[in-house]
């Protein structure tokens, strides 16, 4: 509710901005927020690079050159490809990072998307219906949760090939319970709310209530969790590489680059720091953007986007 300067007519003024220009308002706020701009910019840049660049540099990225092994960074005489240095087999770090971007983003986005969709859907259903449906679904979630991801990873990646697709499946399955539990908790709480009652009273069926009323309210939390999970997934893939059961060359992802470089932590810091840094920055960007999006869409938090008038110092 907008409160105009006189205050007296607070109750009567309609809420102009939000109702009329939902998406446009969000976009306007976006343009004004440096944090959001940077985050989205970074993510967009990565996505663009991941889609466009790899086919052009693939052979160059995987070309080993033992003569350039562990080349230090910032030596322009070796060309742009080697500007971030070279890894333990003389491959150019920058190009490896780009190839890794494609793999890492693909794995992260697909895993998170699959897990989130399934977890979100099942969680809503489970929380809303309650009763034995809830019990059964939660037990299945418990089963999925308890199975050690390592065992699952070994079984899947050993019996089948250690491919990107299989890695996505493994990571997705192990993370479903997070979304499931969160969605279910919120659904449990929301279904008792008045607006649900009122929907039911006008004859809306269960599925309609779930999709139209509950889903949009639970979505922001799921989105927050999903963005946070991006970091989780990137690190889980790195952990699998560290333990020796992740992707195999020539597929390369950021986590594998960090794991492969761990013998050179003191002698060649650039081999692990660049991929590590990019993991941190990407996870950070995802989370910051998610926070911002939440705030921008939530009327309760829209107060932050109103620039308070500058206080002028009153000179006595």
């Amino acid at each position: 509710m907008a409160i105009d300067s006189t205050g007296a007519r607070a109750v009567l003024l309609p809420e102009p901005t939000r109702r009329r220009t939902g998406a446009a308002l969000t976009f306007a706020r976006f343009r004004r927020s440096p944090g959001a701009l940077l985050s989205v910019g970074w993510l967009a840049l990565l996505t663009l690079v991941a889609i466009i660049v790899p086919p052009f540099i693939e052979t160059e990225a995987n070309r080993q050159d033992l003569g350039l092994r562990l080349l230090p960074p910032f030596q322009p005489e070796h060309g742009l490809a080697y500007i971030l240095g070279a890894d333990s087999l003389g491959r150019p770090e920058l190009l490896q990072l780009i190839m890794g971007t494609r793999t890492s983003l693909l794995v992260a986005v697909l895993s998170v998307a699959i897990a989130a969709c399934i977890g979100f859907g099942i969680g809503l259903v489970s929380g809303y219906f309650g009763g034995w449906v809830d019990e059964v679904l939660m037990r299945i979630a418990d089963v999925m949760h308890t199975i050690p991801s390592l065992l699952l990873a070994l079984a899947v990646l050993y019996v089948l090939e250690p491919s990107i697709f299989n890695l996505v499946i493994v990571l997705a399955i192990t993370r479903i319970p997070v979304y499931l539990r969160t969605a279910r908790a919120q659904a449990l709480e929301l279904r008792e709310r008045v607006f649900v009652e009122s929907s039911r009273s006008i004859g809306a069926g269960d599925w309609r209530i779930i999709t139209t009323d509950l889903a949009p309210m639970v979505l922001p939390t799921i989105r927050t969790v999903a963005m946070l999970e991006v970091a989780s997934i990137l690190l889980a893939a790195a952990g699998l590489s560290f333990l020796g059961i992740g992707l195999q060359r020539p597929d390369v992802d950021w986590g594998m680059m960090v794991a492969d470089g761990r013998a050179y932590l003191t002698s060649a810091w650039w081999v692990t720091v660049w991929p590590g840094l990019i993991i941190v920055l990407t996870a950070l960007a995802a989370n910051l953007f998610s926070n911002w999006l939440r705030a921008a869409e939530d009327p309760a938090q829209s107060a932050q986007f109103i620039r308070p008038p500058r206080r002028r110092k009153v000179r006595a």
């Binding site: 070309r63 080993q64 033992l66 003569g67 092994r69 333990s88 087999l89 070994l154 050993y158 020796g244 059961i245 195999q248 060359r249 020539p250 492969d260 761990r262 013998a263 050179y264 932590l265 002698s267």
Partner: protein, 515 residues
Amino acid sequence: MIRSRRTRWVGSALAVVGVTALVAGCSANETSAAPDRDLTIVLASEPVSLDPCDTQDAANAQVLRANVLESLTRIDAETGEVVPLLAESWESSDDNRTWTFDLKEGVEFHDGEPFDAAAAAASIDRVLNTDIGCGNGTTDQFPYEVSIEVVDEQTLQLTSAEPDGIFPLRMTYIDLASPATPTDAKTEDPIGTGPFTVGEVVQGQSITLEPFDAYWGEQPEATGVTYVYRTEPTVRASMIATGEADLAVPIAAADATDDDRTREYSDNRVFFLRTQTNKPPFNDPRVREAVHYAIDRETITGALMERSGLPYDQIVAPTVNGYIDDFEGPSFDPDRAAQLLAEAAADGVAVDTTVELVTRPDLFPGSDEVMQSIAQNLQDAGFSIQFRSLDTDAWLQLLRKPFPAEQVPNILAISHDNISGDASFTYPKYVASSGTNSTLENADIDALIAEAETKSGDERAALFQQASRLLYEEDFAIVPVALQTKLLKLAPGIEYEPNGLTGVELRIGDISFTG
């Protein structure tokens, strides 16, 4: 800023934790310096079995052999000769089938049982003739049946079914344990004649050895040993730097220092690749030969195996009798490799079949990079390579017969050591067509190996060398890459000169304190 109670609690909680940690850390550092003559040795992995008959496995042997357990004979690391240990002397019959051992007197087992011919016989029988799955008594070490006879208290007679020129060498593999050792199951408590007994064993954490006062020989300087395990090479080396360990073995080349605290040792280990002669395209010798020419051993060992590998073109170390002096194998010649592949392709061989290059992450420190480099070499030469790094069990499935029928053609990375000095611990397994790890089917080589096994001395060596020549110059099934050395690290005040046996026998008696 809100001075909420919660923030204050958090602040003080963190402070308490922090201070406690620092205090504990400081005191931990002081108390962790062990009393002078106790050793802490950090290894890469835990022994799988403490049974005396399982010491053919290096992880078990490194802890037990020469420290807890002893055998009739042993190999002198300097000369490579078989020398007496619990047997003072021996002689063989003319046909090299019956060997008579004179045993040392006055030796006791840790449990007080006397060491005599009956005890030795019981121990040997346990290894060779029971079916509890003893690793020391397999056909690798003992291809022929052995019958055991106790002549008198100090004399033991062993008869081999076939003439065997290296019988005393084989006896170095059998560690002797007290007659009280159960013969129907493996034991966790090895009772031997060595200078130490096994004290506390904490599964997954440590093994402690205590000195045995009634040891017959010279008591080692160390008054106790604790073995701990760390899988990360960096952590092993770091433990030396912090004073948590006195000896770290093995360490990675990246952690090696230039001072005298880092020592190199060779365990006669060769790193080679094995192709499959029975699957296309490797059934054509030209394709196998192409692999030899495709690999740039010099650059790979120079750049990636610093201090731990030298380019090599044979599958046994120079101290083994199958080694050929001044033999020159194929050098790095990618053009020749490509030419060979083209020739084979012209004859209809499918040289572009995708071949798996199979390795293990823990083959040796840094093996992953070496294998990727090899993959690149092979691809440059024209092979279509898929890189596969498998865990130990999966790798073993491909290593040994029976090979999985549906496996794709592969090149398998193998790191094999032979400290015995005799090719019969390598060739029958890897080269003879009946060998468990062999993909060869070469009748000529088989004949030579079979004949060599019956001979001894120079004749034996000559025959093995002929077999080697056939392998390297005509068959090409096995592609040697590097002769390996290992590295270990010593803490200040510790002196230990490693030798060829260190990988399988780390004698605490050889470790001395200088500070």
